[in-house]
């Protein structure tokens, strides 16, 4: 007995670069949010003069290492983008994994730095300091979740040289997170 032929419904191919541009637009909004917070931090610090963070000391070792780690992570995620464009799946997973590890290290260092600096909630600097640094940690965590999901989908075979958009979109968000940290590094930690 022959089995009936099964006709699957027509699938809709994803639009090329849709995820990439969508992520880019959303990232632009998040970057503006962070830059506004940093701008107000700088304004408040300038207005307070030498009184700003006078009761606390911000060491530079951790921020410098964080910057170095994030710079390295940019290389890693673009390695993943390059690899998926060349259908090198193993290198894609390694690149994404290394980026996640460096991101986790960044979050860990930030929490360590918060404890080290010890700005308490009743200090005038606290709202802006934690809005800026906490907001950025949230941005990095969001980017890590994004990378995790596109990595998971890459494992399922969704992304390849024909459709590398998901990995490229994650790279856009990650690059923006690193660029925002570069601004924070200078404005909050170096200029103090």
């Amino acid at each position: 007995m022959s089995s009936p032929a099964i006709v699957l419904p027509t699938s809709t191919a994803p639009r090329r670069r849709e995820l990439l541009f969508g992520t880019a637009f959303a990232t632009a909004g998040v970057v503006m949010l962070m830059l506004t917070l940093v701008g107000y931090y700088i304004g408040a610090a300038n207005a307070a003069g030498s009184d700003w963070l006078a009761a606390n000391s911000i060491p530079l070792t951790q921020p410098n290492m964080q910057m170095f780690g994030l710079a390295l992570s940019v290389v890693m995620i673009h390695w993943a983008v390059y690899a998926i464009n060349n259908d090198d799946r193993t290198s894609t997973y390694v690149g994404l994994g290394a980026t996640l590890v460096l991101g986790a290290a960044f979050v860990n260092q930030t929490i360590f730095l918060w404890k080290l600096v010890g700005i308490t909630g009743d200090q005038v600097e606290a709202p802006l300091f934690y809005s800026v640094t906490g907001g950025h940690v949230a941005m990095v965590l969001a980017a890590m979740i994004y990378i995790f999901f596109v990595g998971f989908r890459a494992l399922g075979g969704q992304y390849s040289s024909r459709n590398p958009d998901g990995i490229a979109a994650a790279a856009v968000l990650w690059d923006a997170a690193v660029a925002v940290y570069a601004v924070i590094w200078v404005a909050v930690y170096i200029m103090k």
């Binding site: 032929a5 639009r15 849709e18 541009f21 909004g29 970057v31 830059l35 917070l37 709202p127 934690y130």
Partner: protein, 520 residues
């Protein structure tokens, strides 16, 4: 027969045994709530935002009556509720309404059966609606953005952030649609001008709203009292309600007017790139996140920026008027409405020029109150955006609601413009009578109340006209009008996504359906 050829309802009708665990067909309400169809989402956005815009105008009407009766209604609460009413006009009214219009029309103009990220667009609608409901509630509880009750003010602050994030999400969907859903051959230089204006507007909305959300975060983190939150709004968010940032609301109006002229004249616009450039230039000049602090009003850059914003509006008005001169024109409510909207926008930018001249004179030339002028400017721009929306609703009534507009929409547009002009001019006049006493305040209050009332009735009239067209379409099979030059005129009315399955052929002309045959 292939197993997927028969749907469950068909099997049931044919007497087939349907398993008890088979999913039931969703009802109309369930389908509406769960829809990701861009037409339904856009209609819901427009319907709810027109309703909420009427509510915001009703609040402004009560403020006017309160002023006319020497603070007999609100008393000292007047100063607290005023900024909330203005915020409501923008984030509950014109911005979501224009976004809803774009959700319906933009995919049609670029020949796409769907909007980019349809589920994100649905999330944008419902999250905005929830945020808007909470914001209205918080105003009623003496909260909003300047209220005296701390818990209600926190609620207002959070709901404002929810609304702004939702609108930015919707704008992301619209902008991505224009960038990535175009058919082969339709480069960005060939997209219809409303779609182009929405790409520019959505980009500006996303970055501006992103910056504004930062202040709601700061307000939530830093302020530990209701006055603290009100001060946070005055210092951190008042820039949204004056030039240049407030101009962003009216960027789509430029595209609506250009498409209305092309549709009415039946001819492609000449110098297409120039029109695109003017819209883009106005978009750039609408970016106001760099001028947030009150001190920025005293800078040369701000004065030059305010002066420059007039140029693209004037040039576009002139260019469109020139296009109308080249042949017979059939006057339509859409054409008249969109030109009146451009004039209202021009008036808003001219108020900015007054502020700039005052800045140039270091406050000695006219010695205006920038806050009052800013309010007048906001009302002019809101009038432009609301009037532009009503004009667009008449222009694309078939695509939006399934039937052509009737005379109700003409009357509604008239009321919106007359009311907006009265309201804005009253606020502008207030600048000159700062020490006028009770009589002057009463006159100003009456002017504000009358203006807000007329606008409110006009907006409700536009809503009624839309519902009337939708009902006409439901009761009678209205044939589509294929007379337009861009792709949205080639879809059946109403523009339901499931009916649009045909592949779009490669496009070779900015007006691919009625342009120069050699181009196609």
């Amino acid at each position: 027969m292939a197993v997927t050829d028969t749907t469950l309802p068909q099997q049931a009708a044919a007497g087939s045994v349907v398993s008890e665990s088979a999913p039931s067909t969703p009802g109309e309400l369930e389908e509406l709530i769960g829809t990701a169809d861009h037409t339904s989402l856009g209609r819901l956005y427009i319907g709810f935002s027109l309703l909420l815009l009427a509510v915001a105008l009703a609040i402004r009407l009560v403020i006017g009556v309160d002023l006319a009766t020497d603070n007999g209604i609100f008393g000292s609460y007047l100063a607290m509720i005023d900024p909330s009413a203005t915020i409501a006009l923008v984030f509950l009214g014109v911005m979501p309404a224009l976004l809803g219009l774009a959700m319906v029309i933009v995919p049609l103009q670029v020949g796409s059966p769907a909007i980019a990220f349809p589920r994100a667009a649905a999330l944008s609608l419902w999250a905005w609606l929830v945020g808007a409901g909470i914001f209205i509630t918080s105003i009623a509880l003496d909260g909003g953005v300047g209220g005296g009750d701390y818990d209600a003010a926190v609620l207002g602050n959070i709901s404002l952030a929810v609304m702004m994030a939702s609108l930015a999400l919707g704008a992301t969907c619209v902008a991505t649609t224009v960038i990535t859903h175009r058919p082969a051959g339709m480069g960005l230089a060939r997209v219809p001008l409303f779609a182009w204006s929405m790409l520019v507007a959505a980009s500006i909305w996303i970055v501006t709203v992103g910056s504004a959300v930062a202040h709601t975060v700061l307000g939530h983190v830093a302020a530990d009292s209701a006055p603290g939150l009100a001060e946070n709004f005055q210092i951190g968010l008042a820039w949204l309600m004056r030039g240049p940032a407030v101009y962003m609301l009216a960027i789509p109006v430029l595209g609506i007017a250009a498409d209305a002229v092309a549709r009415t004249t039946g001819r492609p616009l000449g110098n297409y790139g120039v029109f695109q450039g003017l819209i883009a230039a106005f978009g750039v000049l609408s970016f106001g996140a760099w001028a947030q602090g009150p001190e920025s009003l005293n800078t040369v850059l701000w004065a030059l920026w305010a002066l420059a914003a007039v140029v693209p509006v004037l040039a576009l008005l002139g260019g469109l008027a020139e296009s109308l001169r080249h042949g017979p024109v059939k006057t339509s409510p859409a054409l008249v409405g969109s030109f009146l909207a451009l004039l209202a926008l021009l008036a808003g930018t001219l108020v900015g020029v007054l502020m700039a001249l005052d800045t140039a004179g270091k406050g000695t030339l006219f010695d205006f109150d920038p806050a009052l002028l800013g309010q007048a400017q906001t009302i002019f721009v809101v009038t432009a955006a609301a009037g532009g929306l009503v004009a667009a609703s008449a222009l694309w009534s078939g695509q939006l609601w399934g039937a052509p507009s009737d005379s109700t929409s003409t009357g509604a547009a008239g009321l919106v413009f007359i009311g907006g002009a009265i309201l804005a001019l009253t606020l502008a006049v207030e600048v000159f009578v700062t020490a006028g006493g009770k009589e002057a305040n009463a006159a100003i209050g009456i002017g504000e109340a009358v203006g807000a009332l007329l606008m409110c009735v006009g907006i409700l009239g536009a809503l009624a006209a839309s519902l009337g067209a939708a009902r006409k379409s439901y009761e009678n099979d209205v044939a589509a009008d294929p007379g337009g030059m861009t792709l949205e005129w080639q879809v059946p009315w109403p523009a339901v996504a499931s009916q649009r399955t045909a592949e779009i052929p490669p496009i070779n002309s900015p007006y691919p359906l009625a342009g120069d045959p050699e181009d196609n």
